[in-house]
Structures are given as structure tokens and as C-alpha cells.
Symmetry: C2
Subunit: 331 residues, 2 copies
């Protein structure tokens, strides 16, 4: 089992009010680089601080790292358009940061990113892979491709109140600027990514293609962004079984219609509850209130912990240990 973190950025995240994956737009660009360092080393190196939302919710990388502390899965980071330097080792797949989808082109070279990723992933020695993502603004680009593909335009948010209207307006402008109608990219996933998507989607689509081609079991770890990636795979003609492992916070988000979207796409949905609502601690408070919800493979690695028979009390203990290391003693 190898977890592949596909880490990138999009200028779309700079649209005010779109993302909570960082305390403000400037530091948000650091978040994927920091997440990669946390997953790899358990501590920020070049990025110096652990990302938090504007209200103090820690990055879900804290959860993923805590699970890695306990069960020790292999992890590999792909550079799908990072802007900030990271000390995490990354695989170069030739991806640049994504542009703002309101511009004409969101991703310059989706096909070459997908092809490079597919080739690497197909050749990996592992028979089981889990794909994770970190990209601020990713639910907006997810809404972008779902709309362009003509799929149910339902996405979640890292904010407690989903800024759906802002996202919808952004996507409408984006489609218009690209000369596309809703559903205008049916069967053309790379075109959808190029027009209104992001480089993490291109790499994830390639990773799914490479894994399926090489007969590997592949699971997507995340929320509606991964459902959007599954939609891209379906529109690329991939008929293999696909599953998305997520958190209750995404699952219970009424603005996201996760069950319906998964059913549309014939994608198996797995929800793993870390029990944050059952234990009072500042590390869990913002998650339990519906912030962040997902990211950096949180729901998927919680599923891995469950499969390894690690009790969620133990997972929470380790999250508290890491939280205290990063932010000082909480309570």
C-alpha cells in the first residue's frame, strides 16, 4: 500500500472567500508544500509553520500524519504545480501551478501531466494505491469540471458555510470565458481540466489511468474533489471499480450531495468517523464544527487505520500528540 499525495496550487484559490486552506491567500500558497512536509517528515521544514484555517482549524495533514505515525504506510508526493519551496521530496511530473479558471486557460498541459503521471504510477511496484490531494481552491475547480462534464454540480467546502454562490459564479464566468456550455466537455476530461480545472486533477486522472492499466487497486482519498476526479476518469472511459474514502464531515454536508454524486458515477463511497465529536480537545473542535472536512487523504487514511485495527481512540491520542507538538499544549 502506497499513499500518493498529489500536491499543487491554482490561482483560483486567490478569489476572495473561496477557500479556508490557509490563514490568508498569501500563506495559502504554502499549504500544499507544508502538507507534503508534514506527511513526509512529521514536521514543517522549509515552510516553517503548520497550516491553519482563518479560524484556527489545523490542516487535515495533521490527521493523516498521525495515522502514518501509527501504521507506517509508504507515502510519495507528486509535484502537481507547487509554488512554494518544499523540503519534501517530490516526483517531477512537469506540472506548473494552475491559473485562475476565470482566465482562458486553467491548465496549459493537462495531457502531458496525465501521461507522465500514468507512466510513473503504472510502473510502481505496489499493487494497492491510495490517491490523496492537497490544493487550496480545489472544490471550486472540482465544481468547474463537474459542470463542464455535465455531472451533478455538487461540491463541499473547507469552510463551515459553503460559499456555493461564489463558486457557482466563478465557474459560470470560467465556462463563458472558455466558450463552453454546461456539459460541453462530456467525454473530454482533459479539455475540462484545461479550461476550468487544476493540475492536481490532471495528475490524479493520469494516476487512475496508470493504476487501472497496470491492474492495481486504486482508491481515492478525499471528498468532492476526488468525486470530481472519478467523474473525469469515467469520462475518460475508465470502467474499472472506483472508490472514494472520505470523512463524515463531507458525507454529512448537505450542500455537497455526496451520495447522489457517487451513485451517478458508480463510485463506492466509504466513510470513516474519527469520533472527533466524542472527545473534547481543541485539536478536534474545528473539525467537529465542520471546518476543513477533508484533504491530504484524511478520510482514506482513517480507513487504513480502521483496516489495520487501530482503534480511533488511539488515532485521536496521536493527533493530540502531533497537535501539541505543532501548536503547544491544547486541552
Amino acid at each position: 500500500m502506497r499513499v500518493i499525495l498529489i500536491a499543487g496550487t491554482t490561482e483560483t484559490a486567490r478569489i476572495p472567500g473561496i477557500s479556508a486552506a490557509g490563514a490568508d491567500p498569501e500563506v495559502m500558497a504554502l499549504t500544499p508544500s507544508a502538507d507534503a512536509e508534514l506527511l513526509t517528515y512529521g514536521t514543517p521544514i522549509r515552510t516553517e509553520t503548520v497550516p491553519v484555517s482563518p479560524t484556527g482549524c489545523p490542516t487535515p495533514a495533521v490527521v493523516t500524519r498521525a495515522v502514518r505515525d501509527l501504521i507506517g504506510f509508504d507515502a510519495t508526493v507528486l509535484d502537481a504545480g507547487l509554488t512554494a519551496p518544499t523540503a519534501a521530496p517530490t516526483v517531477d511530473i512537469g506540472a506548473d501551478p494552475g491559473e485562475n479558471i476565470r482566465e482562458t486557460t486553467a491548465v496549459e498541459t493537462p495531457e502531458s501531466i496525465a501521461t507522465a503521471t500514468a507512466e510513473v504510477v503504472a510502473a510502481l511496484p505496489d499493487t494497492e494505491l491510495m490517491l490523496a490531494e492537497t490544493i487550496p481552491g480545489g472544490t471550486t475547480t472540482a465544481l468547474g469540471v463537474l459542470t463542464a462534464l455535465g455531472e451533478r454540480p455538487a461540491v463541499s467546502s473547507s469552510l463551515p458555510e459553503n460559499p456555493l454562490e461564489t463558486k457557482q459564479t466563478t465557474v459560470e464566468q470560467a465556462l463563458e470565458n472558455s466558450g463552453l456550455d454546461r456539459g460541453g466537455c462530456r467525454g473530454a476530461p482533459l479539455e475540462a481540466i484545461g479550461a476550468v480545472g487544476d493540475p492536481v486533477q490532471a495528475a490524479t486522472l493520469g494516476a487512475i489511468e496508470g493504476a487501472v492499466k497496470a491492474d492495481k487497486q486504486v482508491r481515492l482519498a478525499g471528498g468532492t474533489q476526488q468525486l470530481a476526479n472519478a467523474a473525469l476518469a469515467r469520462h475518460a472511459g475508465i470502467k474499472a471499480p472506483l472508490s472514494v474514502a472520505t470523512t463524515p464531515y463531507v458525507h454529512e454536508d448537505d450542500s455537497a450531495a455526496v451520495e447522489a454524486l457517487a451513485a451517478d458515477l458508480n463510485v463506492e463511497l466509504r466513510v470513516t468517523d474519527p469520533g472527533f465529536a466524542t472527545q473534547e480537545h481543541v485539536a478536534f473542535e474545528r473539525f467537529a464544527a465542520g471546518e476543513a472536512k477533508e484533504g491530504v487523504g484524511m478520510g482514506g487514511t482513517l480507513a487504513l487505520a480502521e483496516e489495520a485495527d487501530v482503534p480511533m481512540t488511539r488515532v485521536r491520542e496521536q493527533i493530540i500528540t502531533r497537535y501539541n507538538q505543532y501548536f503547544g499544549e491544547g486541552e
Copy 2:
């Protein structure tokens, strides 16, 4: 414990007869990229084949990987000037491939490479580090810096017969072209690297500096290239205990004077014998005949196996398993 593989290239390797780290000069440039993939995944990915010397000696990465299979140490690869694409994740330290030392400048930016590496290494969570290298032509650049520093100009070779004369002529030309005398860079290690060294040396010097500054235990895994790096560290004013873990093949190489060089530099030398001479198998034959000798942390990871109480018979079994995977059934 984390093994840091510092992987790079130098145009110096193209000088005919200098290196056996690849079947011919063209594929030699792939060797560090392939070594990084073997260490990371246990299989070549983008590089497609496992490097061999012109006479069929496998890269020492096979040994290092076999030890990793058995004891599972953490490994991180730094990109210290790779030319060929690798699917191994690498840390970017801003290094370009090294130039031929016979040109005026061998490494354009040794200081920035060293500084970037020192910052990353100092911030790592590990308290014990082992530094390994892979760079074809590295013993010639090692001879270059030892000569420029005024140290004992003794280096080993990946070839069974050390082409010392070719190396010496190359270094003499290199010093002349840089306007340097023997010993002209005493106390100026970055100048030595810039004139007659390679980017792996710059990164290794930085890694030693970062580790020592952060009070980490640091060991160098390799042969005379690591002794040259220790010399660079001594000339940078580093007085901390330094040790080099190597193989009997380097230790017994009369052309290399390893004991004397280690004594000059106040470096502890550790030699771990994998017992290749005691077991007939094509995987061991060329090593036992004195080819390759070292590289990719071979001697250091053998020491780690010994410290983990893994018997060398078990290490040899695992090397055979990997060898057969790469080259088909040997005997």
C-alpha cells in the same frame, strides 16, 4: 535514522576511462537517477534498467536496497544535479549538473547548494543521519578537491584497475585551468568544489554542516568520495566527530590509502564485510573481484544491517532475490 542519498552528475564522468558506473558514458548519466529509484521503490521506473558496469557488475544500489528491504530505514533523495528524469521523489536544493573539471568552473553555485542543503538537513526531525552518494566520475572530483585542499591525493575507483594516471592528469589540467596550485584551496572548501569538484560534494558539505549545527549524529557512507567530503568539512572548520562507513573493497584498495587519509582527517573508519567472497553467485562475483567497490551508501547500510543484528547470510540472500528480479535467475 534516515539515509540521505545525494544524487548528481558531473560532465567529468565523460572523460574516457574514468568511471565504471554504467555500461557506457551515455547510460552513465542515468545511473544516479536509477539508483534513486532502486533505493525508493526497489525497481527502476523511468530509467527502465538497473545500471551495470561495462563488465556486468550491478550498481551497489542493489546491495543498499536489499538492506532496506530487511531493516526498512527511512530514505530521502536530494537532487544534487541529476540530468536524467527520475520517478524517485527528490528534494530540490537548486543544484545543476556539474561541469567537466577541466573547464574553468566545475560547480557554478557551491555555496547556495551547501546552504540550501544545510537548512533542510538541520530542520529534519531525525537525530541520526547517514549520508550516501551516487555520482559517476565522483572519485576524480574527489581527487580534485583533495589535491586542491592539499590533502593526501588518494582515491579509489569503480574499476578493478584504478585509472589513477588519467585521474591525476585530469586533476592537474583542472587545477591549471582554474589557476590553482596543489593546496591552493586550503581552508576554502567551496572554492575547491567550484573549481575542481562536483555538486554532490557541495550538498554533502552542506548536509554535514546542517547536521552538526543541529547536534545530529552524522555518518558518511561510502569510500574515498566521502573521505574527500570529510576533508571539505574539516577545511570548513568543522571539528565534530566524523565517521566513514565503507566496504572491504575500498579498504583493501592499495591505490587508495584509505586508513592514512582517514587518520589525516581524524575520521573514524568502519569497514563491514558482506562476505561476498564466501559465496559463489554471479551477483557477488564482480564485487568480489574489486569492481564498483562502493556507492549509494553500500558500506554504510551494511553497517546498519550489522547493527540491527541481521546476519550477512540473510543480506546476501536478499541481494540474490533482488538480483534475480532485475537480471533473471543467476547461479
